[in-house]
């Protein structure tokens, strides 16, 4: 469906909502076209094409809200009736509001016209390149899975307050999952992902090389040591461990009483060197777009500056509930109600080199991946350090397996002793290496 037709269908859905009893309404439409080439066990597996239009309808009846979605245009009226029926059956909530209409300006680098000419054959070539690069590192590497996907997405948002926004986006994502096998010895799995918005910037080789190197690095790992000490985290491990920060910074969780930081605005929550920013307008950013799930423009939002909590991420509901500015963080697809989520989410780098973080450690652990869980409420984390190496007298030492690390995220933020200048992007997250102190390290 062309962008023009999608707008027409969304306008029609808006009219249907009003006809069936909504006094205010919002419609979000998405048309997604994807081409995927997937490989398994070192060989091409399948190529796929997919096209779908999904329309999400939000009906307001006074302070009541109902939501329905469909991918079948012939059932648009059924969905409108469902949305209004659900609204009328639901308890009201004074914070169920539409955002004030705001002019939406374009952002750079969200769509590459060359994406229109991208073919299944192009996707297959990229997948083969992932396979060949991973295997070229070492023949003991097995590519369990590799995938390349090209996606073009049209987005349209209209509401009864007069908002009308539309945008086209292109996105190329690639991933690889490797293990290494030497005789009976099998390494840990290692997964890496990459993404870009433009055809010219596609480069699948770095993720394939890094994944192979990590899998090989964990081959032959032996039992570690048990102690309390510093841990240096690779950016992938930072993502594994620090992802719950998004939960704390979600205004909805503050409203629910579930965020530890619900009363901490303006207060220190981390060491002064720690800064966290969300920016949905970075040119060419993986999560860059001109407007959020409710049609509000994205912006650069410092969340933690100098270790001090500066803002939560808001959508229209929480902005109204907190009487705070709407930060343009309504998130989600046409298949769901607007939630809250990050865009391009970054821990800002510092001055120190990654080597400095390691050289300052007498006895510690370098962790490439964390396979465990962090309780978003208590902040307690515990899990296995994957592709880990001991650090001895400031140098990376032998690989260790089956080593558990445990601590508390909130304590770690207030005691962390190093942030690197090197960063790595993992899809829409950009993180440096971090050094945490006083972590419980247990060898199995």
């Amino acid at each position: 469906m062309s962008e023009h037709n999608l707008l027409d269908q969304c306008q029609r859905a808006l009219d249907l909502l009003r006809q069936h009893g909504a006094d205010r309404a919002e419609v979000f439409g998405q048309t997604t076209r994807t081409i995927t080439s997937a490989a398994e066990k070192d060989d091409l597996q399948i190529s796929k094409s997919r096209q779908e239009t999904r329309i999400g309808l939000r009906a307001f009846v006074g302070a009541q809200v109902g939501f329905a979605s469909t991918n079948t245009l012939a059932r648009l009226e059924d969905a409108a009736v469902d949305a209004v029926t659900l609204a009328k059956a639901s308890p009201g909530d004074p914070h169920n509001v539409l955002p004030e209409p705001t002019a939406v300006g374009p952002v750079a680098g969200t769509y590459d016209p060359a994406a229109d000419a991208f073919t299944t054959a192009d996707a297959v070539k990229q997948t083969i390149r992932i396979l060949e690069t991973a295997k070229s590192v070492d023949r003991r590497v097995i590519v369990g899975e590799a995938e390349f996907t090209a996606e073009i997405r049209d987005r349209v948002l209209v509401n009864s307050a007069g908002a009308e926004a539309q945008e086209q986006g292109s996105l190329f994502t690639y991933s690889v999952l490797t293990t290494a096998r030497d005789g009976k010895a099998v390494s840990n799995m290692d997964g890496k992902v990459g993404a870009t918005r433009s055809v010219g910037a596609i480069d699948v080789e770095p993720i394939a090389r890094r994944s192979s190197a990590n899998a090989l690095g964990s081959l032959g790992a032996e039992k570690g040591e048990t102690f309390n000490g510093p841990v240096v985290l690779d950016p992938y491990a930072v993502l594994d461990l620090f992802a719950p920060l998004q939960f704390q910074l979600n205004a909805r969780n503050a409203l629910r009483g579930m965020s530890r930081w619900k009363d901490a605005l303006g207060e220190p929550v981390a060491v002064p060197e720690f800064a966290l920013v969300d920016d949905g307008r970075i040119p060419g950013g993986v999560a860059t777009s001109s407007f959020d799930r409710e049609g509000v423009p994205h912006r650069r939002l410092p969340l933690i500056e100098g270790g001090v909590l500066r803002s939560f991420m808001h959508n229209a509901y929480t902005a109204h509930a907190f009487d705070a500015p709407n930060t343009g963080h309504a998130a989600g697809s046409a298949g769901s109600l607007p939630a809250i989520g990050p865009t391009n989410f970054s821990i800002l780098p510092s001055e120190a080199a990654k080597e400095d973080l390691i050289s300052g450690v007498k006895r510690g652990l370098l962790v490439n991946r964390f396979s465990g869980n962090t309780d978003p409420v208590s902040g307690d984390f515990s899990g296995v350090a994957k592709a880990a190496h001991l650090i001895v007298d400031g140098k990376v030492d032998r690989a260790v397996s089956g080593t558990l690390i445990a601590g508390n995220l909130f304590e770690a933020l207030k005691t962390l002793s190093g942030i690197s200048r090197e960063t790595e992007s993992v899809f829409n997250y950009t993180f440096p290496f971090l050094r945490l102190e006083g972590i419980s390290i247990t060898a199995e």
Binding site: I46, T72, A89, I142, M258
Partner: protein, 464 residues
């Protein structure tokens, strides 16, 4: 629709598989007394898989007209042809299977559509209120109801023509407790294949709420466990998680071919002889297990597969492609979550068969150890069977008695080593009957379960 698909397949030539799916979903979420979500979805579409020159191609469309079906077949074939030149190992054929024909309705006397939205909303409001008023320490409450109803028509050029219905409702309760700036969470859920009263009959909603509250509040005062290897008694929920996450994925034949640790172990002893581990699309032990699947998404009639028999690895889980590769019969494990997903190897109901030891006897022999109940916030496992799971509720066992609750416990190890260490298998059985789904690029509703097990594994705690 079935006639259209049969007619199109007959005229298409070559091997094709057509899968039409119409899905309706509902979700209601209440938090702290406020309705957060009241939503529905009406989705329909067609997934087409074609096998050309030994390579699969897949295409999906929402246009289920004859013209749309033909266009999707052409797109799937074109995708296959594009890959064919570069694929190293062509598919030599698909294994023969018992292909499904006819209708496969949901076994329930109480369909979900017979109950109004108001009734479902009232239940969720009541559940949330029960959590919120459960204890003075409760800082936040959440309750939700979800349902998925599917109608699938699966037609293949080699004999399947099945009309399959499915219905899976679920309930969830979450309690967050707080005291002196410390917060802890308790969460419980229930889910079934079946109708409304089937769901409510599995676990009373009040029981879900009360348990979530109890776990959250009790953990506030609980110490952390000390790390190290320990004797543990696992409840059926955690036994099921171990079967599914740490063993089950390593025997999915696509993962096996990708280098899993099990690849050369058929016929070898991989567990204690007390262990028999199965995966089944049928209704063993309960007519309501969440992973019940009479027909898989290749149109194959499902069956019970014995993966480990008395400690010996007997079978992997197969689709028609991997079954042909290994020269065995397909096990009916090809599944696709929505029409736009291609079928891949997934589990259904995965479990360990019960043994002979009563629970009190199992615990009574433990001088020092832990009693562990249900999966916590998350779990992960590798294709080398190394796993790490959070534990929802962990108690010390001292001198044969369940004692103090500890918080933040995790368990880890190699799942096959853990199964080799099993020295007692309970004489009871329970399915998890939980909400949620397994993820492997796409979702699948599964169930997991077993008896209580006593074994040795590593508890993650804190060094002091």
């Amino acid at each position: 629709m079935q006639k259209l698909l049969e007619r199109t397949v007959a005229g298409a030539g070559g091997w094709v598989e057509l899968r039409y799916q119409a899905r309706s979903t509902k979700r209601i979420t209440v938090r702290n007394g406020n309705l957060e979500e009241s939503s529905s979805a009406l989705l329909a579409g067609l997934g087409v898989r074609a096998l050309v020159d030994g390579v699969f191609g897949f295409a999906s469309t929402t246009d289920a007209s004859e013209r749309g079906v033909l266009a999707a077949i052409e797109a799937a074939r074109s995708a296959a042809k594009t890959s064919a030149g570069a694929k190293k190992e062509r598919i030599k054929g698909l294994a023969d299977a018992s292909m499904a024909t006819g209708a496969f309705p949901v076994a329930t006397d109480d369909p979900l559509d017979a109950h109004s939205l108001e009734e479902k909303l009232a239940l969720v409001l009541r559940l949330d209120e029960r959590v919120r008023s459960g204890a003075k320490e409760i800082a936040s409450s959440m309750a939700s109801y979800g349902e998925i109803q599917d109608e699938k028509i699966i037609v293949t050029s080699d004999g399947a023509s099945a009309h399959v219905f499915d219905s899976k409702p679920e309930l969830r309760a979450i309690a967050v407790a707080g005291r002196n700036g410390d917060q802890t969470m308790g969460h419980e859920s229930s889910g079934v294949t079946g109708g409304w009263s089937d769901l409510l009959g599995i676990v009373a909603p009040e029981e879900l709420a009360d348990k979530a509250v109890q776990v959250a509040v009790d953990q506030l005062a609980a110490p952390h466990p000390s790390g190290g290897t320990s004797v543990v008694v696992l409840d059926p929920g955690l036994v099921g998680v171990l079967c599914h996450e740490a063993i089950g994925h390593t025997v999915e034949a696509d993962i096996v071919l990708g280098g899993a640790i099990t690849s050369d172990k058929i016929g070898e002893v991989v567990a204690s002889e007390l262990i028999t581990l199965c995966d089944s699309g049928a209704t063993e032990y309960s007519p309501y297990a969440v992973g019940i699947l009479p027909v898989d998404d290749e149109g194959v009639l499902t069956r019970r597969t014995v993966i480990i028999e008395k400690g010996v690895l007997r079978s992997f889980l197969h689709n028609r492609e991997t079954a042909a590769h290994y020269g065995v019969a397909p096990t009916g494990n090809a599944r696709a979550y929505v029409y736009s997903d291609d079928p891949i190897i997934r589990m259904r109901n995965t479990y360990i068969e019960p043994g002979e030891t009563p629970l009190d006897e199992m615990i009574g022999w433990v001088k020092e150890g832990y009693y562990l109940r249900e999966l916590g916030m998350s779990g992960q496992a590798d294709s080398n069977a190394e796993f790490m799971f959070g534990v929802r509720e962990a108690h010390r066992i001292v001198d044969g008695k369940i004692g103090e609750l500890v918080r933040g416990a995790t368990i880890s190890g190699n799942a096959f080593d853990v199964l080799k260490s099993v020295d007692a298998v309970g004489d009871d059985f329970a399915w998890e009957h939980g909400a949620g789904a397994c993820g492997k690029g796409q979702l699948a509703k599964v169930d997991l379960g077993g008896p209580y097990l006593r074994c040795a594994l590593t508890i993650g705690g804190r060094q002091t």
